[in-house]
């Protein structure tokens, strides 16, 4: 039984060698890709100076920090933290709302089926794409320099960062509408405004709301850290506590962030499930 199997395999290998090994150039390419990948990885590890000694030392210190964090305790700043948390939520809420209001017309302008001019919507799309590459924290830093410290800078940073993404998402949603209601409105004598209001808008509104809620969630997460550069909210308290080595309070704030994010996620998931 075993002998016939081996014989069979040997015969197969003779007649159809390609089953058992890939052609040489394919193997070379795979090995080359892996080698390149490993070389870049090794170079990166060398660049960031990841020696085992350093890792061991750092882990020791990290363990020490964790023992310092236990138990998490708010100290006497509990009400300050709660207020800062509300500030964070307010920043995320207003930022998302402003971004939605600004991005709504931009989304319509960026959609192929609303504005047929190729050059125009290509330019607008590239504009959105370009500014998407800038992290929200960098916007926050810029707005703190422009309008001063405080949550107002955070609101503007979130709004500007989101407008770019919303503009793109809204434009895509509008391009994917079903054309039949649009034709219907036009056939019963509606002009362009009517087409947009009665044919397109009811179709895209739930999609837009779902995007907006999703971004509200993610903005709550990012608003928690904007304070690190001075844009208000809980991040300011957290970075202060870390700076003065008050690890118990820092741990408490991190836990507060985790709980708040979980609550917001749960609420927004329920609303989104109802919308769609």
């Amino acid at each position: 039984m075993n002998a016939t199997l081996t014989a069979d395999i040997a015969r197969l290998r003779r007649t159809n060698p390609q089953i058992f090994s890939a052609p040489l150039h394919e193997r070379l390419r795979t090995w080359g890709l892996w080698l390149g990948f490993l070389a870049v990885l090794a170079f990166g590890l060398w660049w960031i100076d990841a020696s085992p000694m350093r890792i061991a030392n750092g882990l020791n210190k990290l363990g020490l920090l964790v023992t310092l964090m236990i138990p998490p305790w708010p100290g006497d700043g509990l009400w300050d933290y709660i207020y800062a948390m509300f500030e964070t939520l307010a920043m995320a809420f207003l930022g998302t709302l402003i971004a939605f209001v600004v991005a709504l017309p931009l989304g319509f302008l960026g959609a192929k089926n609303i504005v047929p001019n190729w050059l125009f919507h290509f330019g607008l799309r590239r504009f959105f794409d370009a500014f998407r590459g800038i992290d929200g924290l960098v916007w926050a830093l810029i707005f703190v320099s422009a309008v001063g410290l405080g949550p107002f800078a955070g609101v503007l940073a979130i709004a500007v960062g989101d407008v770019m993404v919303f503009g793109k998402l809204f434009a895509e949603a509008i391009e994917n509408v079903d054309n039949k209601p649009v034709d219907g409105v036009r056939a019963s004598g509606g002009d362009n405004i009517h087409v947009v209001r009665l044919g397109v808008f009811p179709q895209v509104f739930p999609v837009m709301m779902s995007h907006v809620l999703y971004f509200f969630e993610s903005n709550v997460r990012s608003a928690t850290i904007l304070g690190i550069v001075g844009a208000g909210g809980i991040g300011l308290q957290l970075s202060d506590r870390i700076r003065i080595n008050n690890w118990q309070e820092a741990a408490f704030i991190i836990l507060m962030i985790l709980v708040t994010v979980a609550i917001i996620d749960a609420i927004s998931r329920r609303i989104r499930a109802r919308l769609i």
Binding site: V40, L41, F43, G44, W47, I48, D49, R54, N57, G58, L59, K61, L62, L65, Y83, F86, E87, L89, A90, M91, F93, L94, L97, D129, A130, F131, R132, G133, I134, D135, L137, V138, L141, I142, S145, A146, V147, G150, P151, F152, G154, V155, L156, Y214, S218, R221, T224, I225, I228, V229, G232, G235, L238, S239, I242, I254, I257, L258, V261, A262
Partner: protein, 303 residues
Amino acid sequence: MSTLSPTNGRLTSTTREERMLSFDERYRQQQFTRRNWTLLYGALFLAALIGSVAVSDFSIPGLIKGLPMAWNYIAGTMPRLTFENFWADMTDWYWGLRFWLRLLVETILMGFVGTVLGGVIALALSFPASRNLVENTGIYFAARRTLEFFRTVPELVFALIFVFAFGLGPFAGVLAIAVHTAGALGKLFAEVNENVDPRPIEGVRASGGNWPMIMRLGVVPQALPNYASYLLLRFEINVRGASALGLVGAGGIGQDLYVAIRQFEYTDISAIMLLLILTTSVIDISCEAIRHRLIGHTLTQVA
């Protein structure tokens, strides 16, 4: 039809008028409850709006005053480029190009190494976090919660803590990226694992494979293209994130951007931002091309 015959009191009406009347009444009731819900949501929204405005010292006059200031600031960062003296102006604008390019390479490397390390951790944790691959609910629960913790604590908070533990520099940044990436990718990988075809798994088990063999031979080959695609997507996100980590001293071009913004070196700000935009665009476009080659166009983007 007989199953539909009404037995509750409201539908026993027989004449046309009565039926119309009861229909009307129900319609009005529905409309009433609907309107109430809309009102309730509207009121909640308004309360949230007013509360937010009060807490965040947001005001329309402030906005009207602040927006031109922000605009002036952005306009102020624009370099003076003249047509006749274009190259000299450009070299003037990009006086620190060699230095910035070095930092830019560092940023990309941080994103790359962080993504790879995070991806390895995510892969290891994704198998115990898939409901169809582990019997033990305790392990499943622990793996899921670990991933959730990694994912929910903001990258920058990890960076702040790691800078403290491992010292200033890109090493702390890479670790922060790796931990956050492990959480985000681990969840996505686990979802991929949960959607694999169970037949190869049964096949490996039937021929006597143990648990690691089942994972290696039954699950990974099916899920590999999706893993790679998510990994590339995450790489794009991480390069963007790495550019911000410098603000807390965790290496990368953010460090220099921070200095430029804090010291009001206006044209430097726009020069670095432009470099960043170009880099992220190139990475986005090339990653998207690779992703489409890997798994076609069907995967929707998951942030």
